[in-house]
Symmetry: C2
Subunit: 312 residues, 2 copies
Amino acid sequence: MTFADYVDLRRAEIEAALNGFLPAPPDVPAVVADAMRYSLMAGGKRLRPLLVLAGAEGVARTVGGSEAAARAAAMPAACALEMIHTYSLIHDDLPAMDDDDLRRGRPTSHVVYGEGLAILAGDGLQAEAFSLLAREPQGHHPVLMTRKLRTLALIAGAAGPAGMVGGQAIDLAAVSPAPGVNAVALDPAGLQAMHLRKTGALIRAAVVAGAVMAGADERLTAAVDEYGKEIGLAFQIVDDILDVEGAAATLGKTAGKDQVAGKPTYPAFFGLDQARTLAAGCHTRARQALDRAGLLESRLDEIATWIIKRDK
Amino acid sequence: MTFADYVDLRRAEIEAALNGFLPAPPDVPAVVADAMRYSLMAGGKRLRPLLVLAGAEGVARTVGGSEAAARAAAMPAACALEMIHTYSLIHDDLPAMDDDDLRRGRPTSHVVYGEGLAILAGDGLQAEAFSLLAREPQGHHPVLMTRKLRTLALIAGAAGPAGMVGGQAIDLAAVSPAPGVNAVALDPAGLQAMHLRKTGALIRAAVVAGAVMAGADERLTAAVDEYGKEIGLAFQIVDDILDVEGAAATLGKTAGKDQVAGKPTYPAFFGLDQARTLAAGCHTRARQALDRAGLLESRLDEIATWIIKRDK
């Protein structure tokens, strides 16, 4: 199967699972169910769920387990991570944060539903992610429960103030702090520290969650963690490059916006060529981590290449 | 020990535990750690954690376990529920929601930190609550893991769109929907349905979480669930009554605000006297539920009375 076909196949499975896990009336009031669905089912790359499934498959092959069973065990984590990612986009787009009107080619949540309901849709998606992780996959086998609790702890840690929320707070302080508060200047090290939390933590948690649910030992877990860290950073560097190069039509969001907002970015600090070199360095280290774990033949390698070469 | 002394003692334990569980630099950027601490450590009744601990104690006595061990096992759930409650207050007070400047006698989070960071502090507290529940209490005994996953699922469900967030969305649609959208009128049944989710779900989850962590069987769990449902509703009816009667000094928040905002309330629908009668009915049914479970001698009975008689 080509990589493009593989991604299409897994994405279709992810869309179906997300749709099945989304709560609906009468359990949930229609007003908030609609707003959650609007943002969650708006497409997007589904990078984090793909990483969960590819991590689970790769580890299953290495430890001699069933790839299909590993994917099934990891699917709730795949969907939970996409719910958390989506909630972060809804809140990030709010007027008090990045104030974006366009996301994935469509009007943002607060434009459609108003700010109050957009905040609640985000809050609801976060809660639903953890509800899903606690419920699924079902079973009381001690091995399964141990894996579920580890996955829960690592995803909650990555989503919280030590991870994504903390990175977002650093970003906010650097770009659009409260009225009357001066922006905090970031140097290149500060920029990297921000991105390791803001986008890196969740990407890293995705591939590790897949590995844990498939039964990775300490050595395998450490290797995929290293891989996740490197591709998470590469993802952000490429994002910054695309913001300079890209057109609104390709990205589905307002391009050139970082520059206008005076955001610290990799191209702003290093220039485009050096930024590309930095991304290539992450790619190399990610592949070395896969190699150490015997995972170079897995789809994780192709995903790393895709992250570097993507044009949106 | 008198009930007042009991509450003081448990509150001191809860404050110490919250303080210990709150993440701090360098794990977490100072800017978001400060904002989380500002709201979480601002006092308040600590009703939900008290219910967790009282539920755990009562069940431990009934099933013949150690009350102290049950409290220790339940303390992470007690703190997690207070984190979730606090995040909901931060978001509820935002300009896009209830637009409140004063909470627990102090300026609200967005007044102090700006809207963006207030949203993030709330998001961070929610994630931290689930991180805490997944981590603590530590141990891999199957009985403990089963209880932790049940507690996680019930708290996440109560906090999410089927519970608190859903109730908040109904409230928002009834009072301050998006610009250009008409408010949805609530009848008394709709008001009750809203409150059962908005405040009731978390109060109910609190007492059930305590019971589950202490090893309650199905019958005991059902009884404390019934108790929690009734006192949750009573809590809201009394809140509405206090809003009419109370002074800003006593409540630590802007009194009479519901009336000004044209919010649907129990006194508005039924008058003050009938609202008091409704609260008394909840109290009676809560006590009957305790009686069925042999829990009438527990602190849960005194907490129910306190909820009815409180003046703030």
